[in-house]
Symmetry: C2
Subunit: 666 residues, 2 copies
Amino acid sequence: MPEDALVAFMPSGKRGRFPLGTSLLDAARALGVDLDSVCGGRGICGRCQVRPSFGEFAKLGVVSASDHLSLPAHVERAYADRRGLGPDRRLGCSATISGDVVVDVPPESQVHRQLVRKRPDARPVEIDPMIHLHYVEVQEPDMHDPSGDFRRLASALEREWGITDATIELGVLAGLQKALRQGAWKVTAAVRDRREVVAVWPGFREKAYGLAVDVGSTTIAVHLTDLSTGDVVAQSGAMNPQIRFGEDLMSRVSYVMMNPGGDVALTEAVRQAIDAQVGETTGSAGLARADVLEAVLVGNPVMHHLLLGLDPTELGGAPFALALDHGLTMRASDLGLALHPGAKAVTLPCIAGHVGADTAAVILSEGPHLQDEMMLVVDVGTNAEIVLGNRQRLLAASSPTGPAFEGAQISCGQRAAPGAVERVRIDRETLEPRFKVIGADLWSNEPGFAEKTKATGVTGICGSGIIEVLAEMFLAGVLASDGTINGAMAAQSPRVIPDGRTFAYLLHAGSPALLIHQNDVRAIQLAKAALYAGAKLLMDRMGVDAVDRIVLAGAFGSHIDPLYAMTLGMIPDCEPARVSAAGNAAGTGARIALVNRAARAEIAEVVRRVEKVETAIEPMFQAHFVEAMALPHKTAPYPRLRRVMTLPEPMEPAERGGRRRRRQGS
Amino acid sequence: MPEDALVAFMPSGKRGRFPLGTSLLDAARALGVDLDSVCGGRGICGRCQVRPSFGEFAKLGVVSASDHLSLPAHVERAYADRRGLGPDRRLGCSATISGDVVVDVPPESQVHRQLVRKRPDARPVEIDPMIHLHYVEVQEPDMHDPSGDFRRLASALEREWGITDATIELGVLAGLQKALRQGAWKVTAAVRDRREVVAVWPGFREKAYGLAVDVGSTTIAVHLTDLSTGDVVAQSGAMNPQIRFGEDLMSRVSYVMMNPGGDVALTEAVRQAIDAQVGETTGSAGLARADVLEAVLVGNPVMHHLLLGLDPTELGGAPFALALDHGLTMRASDLGLALHPGAKAVTLPCIAGHVGADTAAVILSEGPHLQDEMMLVVDVGTNAEIVLGNRQRLLAASSPTGPAFEGAQISCGQRAAPGAVERVRIDRETLEPRFKVIGADLWSNEPGFAEKTKATGVTGICGSGIIEVLAEMFLAGVLASDGTINGAMAAQSPRVIPDGRTFAYLLHAGSPALLIHQNDVRAIQLAKAALYAGAKLLMDRMGVDAVDRIVLAGAFGSHIDPLYAMTLGMIPDCEPARVSAAGNAAGTGARIALVNRAARAEIAEVVRRVEKVETAIEPMFQAHFVEAMALPHKTAPYPRLRRVMTLPEPMEPAERGGRRRRRQGS
């Protein structure tokens, strides 16, 4: 009988000869095969499960398979009893080789598995968080070897996991004595960046969590994420309470300018709001705050500065100097977040005074820098952040769209909430509208609509509804190319009614009545012109006339119909199939940075080579802006839109609903 | 005329050829000459002063000197007007070479000058603090290059000082915007470890300060130190308020054991006390708390743990497990110290459960590991920490002397304070005593003594007084070798009086009367036997019968007369000239670690190779202890002490006073 045997791991194909009796986990480690383990081969965690292969693998030089492994020993049977083990599965740490063998490492047993992303076109992201859990058995203290508890923990981490020169902060150290003694010297340590011990729990533990936080001017979104799978286990969205200091960014900066020291109140407000959402998400997931070890936070420059407690005044005027453009790692408690005492908070880098860490996160999520196509990424909020480019070159700008797209500055506008009109169709002949409101899936002209909307009523029009009603008004001839509501139509339809010296369109004659006034059209024209002009400016700078792909990010971008957006001339013309909605791409980017350590270095590098275009000082911006006021504006031929105009239903509502449901997890 | 010239720097002798017009500072930097500068060669700081040499330096290949330098330019004359410049001095940054020249770099212009230590036998220590100040001119923000304030500061540090990849913490970042704008983009940055920006001040600043803190069980000593010179600019000593929870260490640990969570109160107490002393020392030096950028703290293991907020319970029983033996760097604010927001606190490593960071600091100060002689270092407090060794090998132990040496457990004992007896002589014939009290420099039998002590009175006996009175009683025959007060003497002198079943010696018949009771003698016997037995245990382990040098550290060790200590058998016999007092060596060691960054790595390495001897489990300790109870004990021949006994004055009081005055700065 030979003294060693050949072991081959699939799918990597890595193989080598090992002495009989070697565990598959040890063989995998020796070969650099990506096989997970938290408990260090003690049959506790079950992360090293493998599948012995059957049949012949001549090309691998291996003849047979499963009978060339040891029978399940006590520890493996105990694991199977306790937690279950598939009939074709073995624990890699327990199964030892007794002959040549081929084993499959299933995806869930790989350390570096892929983050599950629901959009088929999303960039692949490997799960490789900054923090890993390691179960260790620590040597007990001994009077003859008076080393400290932490030195003995560090020795165990080095001996069992190859982690050298471990460090610890005081806040974590304070709980070490107790954890070691409660766990009878068996503990699980969370180690950050293979160096800093950020948490120690008695006994075995296999899960740690992180937060991806998108601090928007209006909404704060928190995604509580399993660090080992990247799965979002709970999420919440809440109003940014800074709104009471000013609706938009500049009014908040003005508040600080007018009230020296007022930034402290804004900082407190946003930190408390995030912390409350931490309580909410951990609570709904049945977790404790101390289960959370890391938070990645993104936001536009003003949000970023206020979150960090940096005075945003400089961002309120030229030269719009950031205090910090680097990413920053700090204690979570520095931001008032009550997580584990060792938890860290990380902010992603900002790009420029108007283009923040949220845009960095959008880039991370959408990956324009990873592809050859010319991609335009637009994140529409109170400002529109615009990124254009590809592998070779990236440009970024921020365009002052104002809050019209979010329903502000629109007479019957409101935030997206139950009761808000989100879809509109206008009969091209009669000019009679039908619409849908959030919370009801019937058109307003379908039977049962009144019943369905009884609870919420029809309260206003949200951003996507405004886009649709204006586009439909334009397609139906109610709006002229210059944005004027065509008063001549008043003769044809009672829907077009005089409104002082202008006209209005009556969308809904309820209480409240939903009227589209001339000023509402002007507000959207200004906003869409700013957005288009920003994109055009970048295209000019890049030297391109068209883009290959458009990604609409942000809540608004996910809800609008791209065809209507092109109808209004919000975004450059593009093949409709190449326009996609990315949902909360900033939040997704934060989540990518949370679960993939390399992504942090990647975005730091990318951000430094993004060319920033400051719309405020670009003379061409004004020219593009003026041109882009028209519907659709003069410079774009919109050949495809001509076709669209004749289609009865530009897009099935079901498709849009599907897209909306995906937006959190995209 | 040649295009370049030879420049030689003394005392290093480094030299090289440079183009005419090169500044001496640039030449020094190119040659690696140790020439200081904070302002980066802008004629502001004056740290780069040099002295052109005259005469011929044939062996250096340089012929003449001072007229081969440029005449003082505007910036140098302005500096001389503003701050003064010696007639033979030039600013190295301003003076440029116009021919071959030799320049002296005076010690005060060297970056790495020596720490001034008053004891001639003290180890030399180079000033090389962890934190250096760098004056920089930061590029103003520019809309076309939207980098953050910190990136522009980091670029300036790299460009002007070669500091790459600078980092900053949030607390310091918050003040950056203001400092840059107040200083019109000229700021001084304090950079720690050539990496972390820990402070930024507008304009030029040349001083930063640190704290060396010795947290004793009884007393907390704080030394406010100039980081660039190592000079102590203010110091304070205050009672450790933890005393209200227990007089000695073990009673404080017991308090925590009996009152779970009680360690929080002890931690708060000591942190607040240190912080109050920070206020006191900075105030008396005319400085702000924010001028302090670093604190190095030492203490025994229980003090160390309580300071850090670590539960000391484990230190109260075998195996006496430390939570942490490493040195630790943290924010000063983590310890409740209100210094500069970027200030760090550093604790030195502990050696074992009974031998703490204070002993590590004593080793750093006295340097037994740097020499060939066999050195015994004894730091006497409530416990005696004992270190024995040399370059080859170091042993350490802690011996439970109890608080008798500090005046506790002695009927008329008191702490060293005005009114306490500190020196005693007893007439060998009449047994009449004379003594001195702290605060008066007359003997009690000299005219004017009563007047001198009117304010304080004669209130008790401090530690050094107890040693002297017992040694004198022994030398006068009042005490037998076994420590019994010889009742037969009562017949000869009214000073020996019956005291129940034993006798007492009347030192002073005032109010209060100072009587040395038999139990007082026993308390000192127990304490000195513990000290001696600990030293003997280490000598056994080392395999030596005698030591080459003895260093007595700590306040008590500095006040006692080594000859009396040997008379009582407290310490092993040693040539009196080789016994020295080191004063607060723990505080000095902390100060060394404060001003010399290499010392921190040095002590971390030394501490790991110290062999710890646990007196509690060494069978020989008890045997040595019992033997050492005698006066002087049986195993020591004390040949030299025989001579001493015949001397009328073992040591001049003036010498001792001199030694005491030195103790803070030794």
